[in-house]
């Protein structure tokens, strides 16, 4: 990995491609959680990698490189969402939740009709389904849920990043949990959350 990083610092195309290949899946994973659509996720991914390659000198070898990349990618996603929100704020106001569901990530209609059976590849099915449920959340609520659950941000950090009060962050998280729990219960996922 050190060799790849060194090559990336020297702007060597083959090293950059190698890093892109290696980190495509985990980084794409982050982007799909924050993005409403696959197109947005791809845009976020490439923007994030562009930032990583452009600012790779900032990584001084302290801590894990993957952690640094992840942090850059999350910041890029947040940046993207903010700029997108700014651009499409009017449009977002009139759009329903179903409009935000990506067909290739989760077929909300099929899910509703119970087409997906429990015998299907559970990992894939669950992941896609959960991603669909996640996309049911309003963007800001989803972002806060992502930051709290996946990025392990504290409410204080989320408040700083999202430029809001800590209590607002707590409220968004509570709403996200409640909405997701209800959606899971409604779709026979109560067995998955045995603690309910």
């Amino acid at each position: 990995m050190e060799q790849i990083i060194r090559g990336c610092k020297q702007r060597q195309a083959d090293c950059q491609k190698l890093l892109y290949q290696q980190q495509f899946s985990p980084m794409m994973n982050i982007c799909t959680r924050y993005a409403g659509t696959r197109e947005d996720a791809e845009e976020m991914l490439n923007n994030g990698f562009l930032k990583i390659f452009s600012n790779i000198e900032q990584y001084e070898g302290k801590g894990s490189f993957e952690g640094w990349m992840k942090r850059v990618m999350v910041n890029t996603c947040l940046d993207y969402l903010k700029s997108k929100t700014h651009r499409n704020s009017t449009k977002m106001m009139v759009m329903g939740n179903e409009d935000l569901l990506p067909d290739d990530v989760f077929d909300h209609a099929l899910y509703k009709q119970g087409v997906f059976s429990e015998n299907e590849t559970e990992q894939k099915y669950n992941a896609r389904e959960l991603m669909g449920l996640l996309n049911l959340l309003p963007e800001q609520t989803r972002t806060i849920f992502n930051l709290f659950v996946f990025e392990a941000y504290s409410h204080k950090e989320i408040a700083q990043v999202m430029n809001m009060a800590e209590r607002t962050s707590q409220w968004h998280l509570a709403v996200a949990r409640k909405t997701l729990a209800e959606a899971l219960v409604n779709n026979n996922y109560s067995k998955k959350i045995a603690g309910l």
């Binding site: 950059q16 491609k17 899946s25 994973n29 490439n46 947040l78 990992q123 996946f150 729990a181 603690g195």
Partner: protein
């Protein structure tokens, strides 16, 4: 409430391990975006290498200029005169080996003395004698009477003198060779009382007109003498000078001349000197090179606080033209606000930064115009030229918003982003005045205005103020050479 952590765990466990297939199309898109940055990086890298190469050349050039300036001192007329005097002294010296044939021939009834004729080049070479016979110690002290009665020796180049002489000796033990030896006869040969040569001191072997004759220097003693030591002529003794046919120019070379002048050798020596001086005067005037050390302060300007600078300056006069070149290092304190944004990474928020200190390597060069009378110690020069510069040190404060516009900002000192955003190479137009108050000390006032923006091409510069560097330097100059 208890279910909520389970929801978190469920989503974390299910979504974190999701696998996505690599998309080559996506990479192609990113690759196209990265290409300009790669090109810019490699171009900058080449530029950086070129700058280092330039610096290396300048350092070598500066060193060479210094070397030349120092060496020219040794070639100036005054020093040349001194050298000539030295040569003159050497002219009246005779290698030690000359005594050897003397001693050998003293054994003959004719009292012939063989002195090898030496050109300047030969002076350091072994002196030859008529035969390979070693020098013996059997020489008989020659009475003064015999010495003064000179007998002419055959041969056109043989030189006679009836005067007693003092001979400075080269103490190199020299093998004798047959041939090339020319004899002079009846040179009054005598040696001073043999002083035992002390280590490191000049041994003396005089062939002088003295009643104190103690005989000729024994060959063994000669051989034991330290090498390459020269004995000065005793002033009371007339000079054994070069034969007439030896060109004067050879005498100028500062080598030992063993010729013996028949008449008025002192006068001959003086003539030699004067001819040499004439020759020196007739030499074409060469460019005068000055080597100066300079240092001073950067006066304040709209966004610059006082700083310091120091370096060297080489001036050269070629005919009526004066040129200068130098190497300075300037440390500037600034309070320059920058607002910039990367061109390639749009959409991206503008970044704020402050440049607090710059260390710049400056390499001024250009013309000087003398505005006062030349060759006076208080010459005043107007200078115009250009000054390539390279920012070697930088202290910046960059306000990092972690890629989140409007988010909390962290102050990062010497951020790598700033290193990229600042254009390290610079070129300024300079103009100033230099006044030599004394031959050694001068003062200067120079202003510079850079022709290149301090923000790198890859970044937008949104600062309302002018980002071109500008400065006024006032300082002292100290001339190292005359």
């Amino acid at each position: 409430m208890s279910s909520r952590p389970n929801i978190d765990d469920l989503f974390r466990s299910e979504l974190e391990g999701q696998h996505h297939e690599f998309s080559d199309a996506l990479w192609q898109r990113l690759d196209a975006q990265l290409q300009p940055e790669r090109d810019a990086y490699h171009k900058k890298d080449r530029k950086r290498r070129a700058v280092w190469l330039l610096l290396a050349f300048l350092a070598i050039g500066g060193g060479s200029a210094w070397y030349l300036a120092v060496n020219r001192n040794s070639g100036n007329p005054e020093l040349a005169g001194t050298q000539q005097e030295k040569n003159t002294t050497q002219t009246i010296t005779t290698p030690q080996q000359e005594a050897a044939p003397v001693s050998r021939q003293d054994n003959n009834t004719n009292n012939n003395i063989t002195v090898s004729p030496q050109t300047s080049e030969q002076a350091t070479l072994p002196v030859t004698a008529k035969s390979n016979q070693p020098v013996t110690n059997t020489s008989t002290p020659v009475p003064n009477k015999t010495i003064t009665n000179t007998v002419p020796a055959p041969g056109p180049s043989e030189i006679q003198t009836g005067k007693p002489v003092a001979v400075k000796r080269n103490n190199n033990p020299v093998p004798f060779e047959t041939g090339n030896a020319k004899a002079i006869t009846a040179i009054p040969v005598q040696t001073k009382k043999q002083d035992k040569p002390k280590t490191g001191k000049t041994p003396v072997l005089n062939i002088a007109p003295a009643e104190k004759q103690t005989g000729v220097q024994p060959a063994e003693t000669v051989a034991e003498m330290p090498a390459a030591e020269v004995v000065k002529e005793e002033k009371t003794a007339p000079v054994i000078n070069e034969p007439v046919e030896q060109p004067l120019s050879e005498q100028k070379t500062g080598t030992i001349n063993s010729g013996i002048a028949p008449k008025q050798p002192e006068k001959n020596t003086v003539e030699t000197k004067s001819v040499t001086d004439k020759k020196a005067k007739n030499k074409p005037v060469r460019g005068k090179t000055g080597l100066l050390v300079t240092g001073g302060t950067n006066l304040s300007s709209p966004f610059r606080k006082p700083g310091v600078y120091g370096g060297i300056l080489v001036t050269k006069t070629i005919g009526d033209k004066h040129i200068f070149a130098g190497l300075k290092i300037a440390n500037n304190r600034l309070d320059h606000q920058l607002v910039f944004a990367a061109k390639q990474n749009q959409p991206q928020a503008e970044k704020d930064a402050v440049i607090e200190r710059l260390t710049i390597l400056q390499m001024p060069f250009g013309y000087e115009f003398a505005v006062s009378k030349k060759n006076r110690p208080s010459t005043t020069f107007l200078q115009v030229g250009f000054e390539p510069a390279y920012i070697t040190g930088l202290r910046t404060v960059y306000f990092d918003d972690r890629g989140i516009p409007g988010g909390p900002r962290e102050e990062v000192v010497n951020s790598p982003i700033m290193s990229k955003a600042i254009n390290r190479f610079n070129l300024s137009f300079i103009a100033g005045v230099r006044k030599q108050v004394t031959p050694r000390i001068g003062i200067s006032l120079t202003g510079g205005y850079s022709l290149i923006d301090i923000t790198d091409k890859q970044y937008y510069n949104r600062t309302s103020t002018n980002n071109n560097l500008k400065y006024i330097q006032a300082g002292l100059l100290f001339r190292l050479n005359k």
